[in-house]
């Protein structure tokens, strides 16, 4: 079984990203299972999507247990740090460097610095690939496609199990027609922002 954990902040689009991965797997004839955070936490709370591919027996726990994720896709540096306990010892991390400052930090005047979180990831001993989130956000324009751009980066970095072509096919099968070209284009932009 191949496990991918997506960790981010409500509104960043982990639900669509995990669905694209599951559709890629289904297109290869693999069984796919996912679990989403849907509900109140989608309003700026911590969200995770669990993707479990190629299970041989059912029922499958929808949530990846600690220490079992092959890949952690961090949509936000602090959320990637929070999800580290889920990684296998030889698991890897792909993280977008753009931090999302919680309102609680802004209100209390306490600093939340994404660079501190990225430093923790670097010290963790896992294989970490950084994606320039600030540059990527500026290049894609529409913040709603940050999720798909990160998938493009992970695929280009060879960390994803799936190729960009497979992601394109999944986009065709999942995303409404008028947004398909936009999403397929940001796969390339994501690939250009691997640091």
């Amino acid at each position: 079984m191949y496990n991918v954990l997506l960790a981010g902040v409500g509104g960043q689009g982990t639900v669509l990203a995990s669905r694209l991965l599951a559709v890629c797997a289904a297109n290869r004839g693999m069984d796919a299972h996912t679990a989403e955070t849907i509900g109140m936490a989608q309003r700026g709370g911590c969200v995770t999507s669990h993707v479990r591919l190629g299970a041989s027996e059912t029922p499958v726990s929808p949530l990846i247990p600690e220490g079992q994720a092959d890949l952690l896709l961090g949509f936000e540096p602090g959320e990637a740090v929070r999800a580290l306990p889920f990684l296998k010892n030889d698991g890897s991390v792909v993280v977008g460097t753009l931090g999302v400052t919680p309102v609680t930090a802004s209100l209390s005047g306490s600093a939340y610095r994404a660079v501190d979180m990225l430093a923790i990831l670097d010290r963790s001993g896992f294989d970490v690939t950084r994606v320039d989130g600030e540059g990527l956000m500026a290049a894609i324009g529409n913040p709603k496609t940050y999720n798909v751009a990160l998938l493009g980066a992970a695929a280009a970095a060879g960390k994803l199990l799936f190729t960009r072509e497979e992601l394109c096919r999944a986009i065709d099968m999942t995303v409404p027609e008028r947004f398909r070209t936009l999403n397929k284009n940001v796969l390339f932009i994501g690939a250009d922002h691997i640091i």
């Binding site: 509104g11 069984d31 109140m40 949530l63 247990p65 220490g67 209100l107 913040p143």
Partner: protein
């Protein structure tokens, strides 16, 4: 071919496969996507003959389905667990009267709770209502079980509950589905007052029949594939239900253990024969289930009833938590101790002060402006702010801090009245969303007018049912399948109910909003305010605000006053990120006029 379906989608597909002809419900996490899927498939022409509606509340939905089921239609009613409280009056009698067309009541439970006000267990509700309940352990099983539930319902002429939990509803799996037949043709309503009109004598007679039926089903369901014995080694066994079955299977695989397992898919009527044959081969049983100890109690009861010397471990024995979700980690830890194998090593929590992220109102949410206007208008006065269920419950968060109470759907309007009676010098406000207003708000307004209370009901009309993912409701002019529907005008409804005044204001115009609040608060009687501005998810933003860095004095008033997530501070200056939708509330708050300059997106 297999397709990837969310548990809730799988339930919709299963119901259509079973020939459902009518689906109705009220949105509620984690149940919402079931009805949305049926509506989507109807719109796409894949299920053209099914009737589907968002009802105004769960009670209405249950009654609409009861009527159609009397006439022989296969029906499904969808709701979250607390929705069943609203629908419990018709359900209790529906169970006594019975039906002609098979009817499944889809009630999604929410252990955690993740997005709910209670951790009530619908398995317990089912046994109270004396209706059979199916408890799927996965999306795959939910697809099969909903079809089995329709068969059982129609055969036994009783409503049947399907009770998935959040981790089944919002999990997806690749599932082999079959085409939908046309809905089963209803025979039509056949008049028979001795059957459809509930009277004490009928209830007495049917009560006895229902108890006898449930005793029989308890034996018959022992052979149901959803109730299964998984063979293993040793006499220390486990019993599981719902998603805990999946967690336990994975925990056993991590630990390398093979304890014999009883999986219960129909917690009521409980599969007694199967459970007895399981207990006879065990010395001890550890039960893993979420919420109420339903399986644990049944097993404990059977041991007493049949004189079996088996120790039962679980919540009642104090070995498992009584609230919250289970997990593979928790079950593995308990199983390791129980079976005497080494516990898996837990991973260290990251050594960092991680950001706290409570859910917040979206950037540009009009509710923020509504709350802020009331707060400004009532500064220094003794007030109660009675909240309700919806996105606007998040008005409780600092810095707004504008939700003093939240109980259940529609309760804000009536709680405000109660506080006013107990504390007459308090100005009592209630905040109710447009969908909640139609769900259970009308009765509260009538109660206030009839009983002559002074209060200010505030209706937060954002033209959608936002928290559950923006479903239409009676104020939106659209129905569940996207057709034009008659708009029910909230102001007209309030006037018809006899309130003293109604003011409709755009909350983003703060001056107008504040003066409307002052006027309502100072008047006698029930003085309603409708704050009308669309949910930010309903439109594409045309403007965004920017901060003129030279002008910003770094006073942080913008973030301290309204807590908008688009605003943060860098190098002592306010920064507005691209989640801004240009609502302009911050421009009205900045003391030096540094925010503005709306730019095109």
């Amino acid at each position: 071919m297999k397709q990837l379906l969310m548990g809730n989608e799988a339930i919709a597909y299963g119901a259509l496969r079973a020939g459902v002809g009518l689906v109705c419900g009220y949105p509620g996490t984690p149940s919402t996507e079931v009805l949305e899927t049926v509506a989507r498939l109807k719109r796409a022409g894949q299920a053209p003959d099914v009737y589907v509606e968002w009802s105004v509340n769960e009670k209405s939905a249950m009654e609409v389905a009861a009527g159609a089921a009397y006439a022989g239609m296969r029906c499904m009613v969808t709701m979250k667990q607390v929705g069943l409280n609203v629908a419990s009056d018709p359900l209790m009698s529906f169970a006594y009267v019975g039906l002609e067309g098979g009817t499944v009541i889809l009630v999604a439970d929410d252990p955690g709770p993740i997005s709910s006000q209670t951790e009530q267990d619908t398995r317990t509700f089912a046994s109270f209502a004396k209706v059979p309940v199916f408890d799927p352990c996965s999306p795959e099983e939910a697809y099969r079980m909903v079809q089995d539930a329709f068969e059982l319902s129609e055969r036994e002429k009783t409503p049947v509950i399907l009770r998935p939990t959040t981790r089944v509803c919002h999990a997806s799996a690749t599932i082999e589905t079959a085409p939908f037949p046309a809905p089963k043709k209803p025979r039509g309503f056949v008049k028979d007052p001795g059957r459809w009109v509930i009277f004490p004598w009928l209830s007495f007679a049917n009560h006895a029949k229902i108890e006898a039926r449930n005793d029989r089903l308890s034996r018959e369901l022992s052979d149901y594939p959803g109730n299964e014995l998984l063979p293993g080694e040793g006499r220390r066994a486990v019993a599981v239900g719902g998603v805990s079955a999946a967690y336990t299977a994975e925990a056993q695989s991590l630990l390398g253990t093979r304890a014999p397992t009883l999986r219960v898919g129909t917690p009521f009527p409980f599969p007694t024969e199967k459970a007895l044959s399981f207990l006879k081969n065990a010395d001890e049983v550890f039960v893993f289930e979420e919420l109420d100890p339903v399986i644990e109690r049944e097993l404990t009861y059977l041991c007493g009833r049949y004189g079996l010397r088996v120790s039962i471990h679980g919540k009642l024995s104090g070995e498992m938590p009584r609230s919250g979700e289970n997990s593979v980690e928790l079950i593995a830890e308990k199983l390791a101790e129980y079976l005497g194998v080494p516990a898996p090593q837990r991973r260290e929590k990251p050594d960092a002060s991680l950001p706290v992220r409570p859910p917040t109102l979206c950037a540009g949410c009009p509710h923020r402006a509504s709350f802020y206007a009331v707060k400004q208008a009532m500064k220094g006065r003794k007030c109660l702010f009675a909240g309700d269920i919806g996105c606007y419950t998040l008005g409780n968060a600092k810095p707004l801090d504008m939700t003093d109470t939240c109980l259940c759907m529609g309760a804000g309007i009536t709680i405000a009245q109660g506080v006013r009676h107990a504390e007459p010098d308090t100005v009592c406000f209630s905040f109710t969303g447009d969908s909640t207003f139609f769900h259970t708000g009308l009765a509260g307004i009538a109660n206030a007018v009839y009983n002559g209370v002074d209060m200010v009901p505030v209706i937060l009309d954002n033209s959608t049912t936002a928290m559950t993912g923006r479903q239409p409701n009676p104020s939106t002019g659209v129905n569940a399948v996207g057709e034009v529907a008659q708009v029910i005008d909230i102001a007209g409804v309030l006037r018809a109910l006899g309130v003293s005044s109604v003011q409709t204001v755009d909350p983003l115009d703060q001056d107008a909003a504040v003066s409307a609040v002052r006027k309502a608060a100072d008047a006698k009687g029930v003085n309603a305010i409708i704050f009308r501005s669309p949910c930010v998810g309903l439109f594409k933003p045309e403007t965004r605000m920017t901060v003129e860095a030279d002008a910003c004095i770094g006073c942080t008033r913008c973030i301290r006053e309204i807590g908008c997530p688009a605003i943060s501070f860098a190098d002592g200056k306010a920064v507005i990120d691209n989640t801004c939708v240009g609502c302009g509330l911050c421009t009205q708050i900045c003391p030096v006029g540094a925010i503005g300059g709306a730019r095109d997106v």
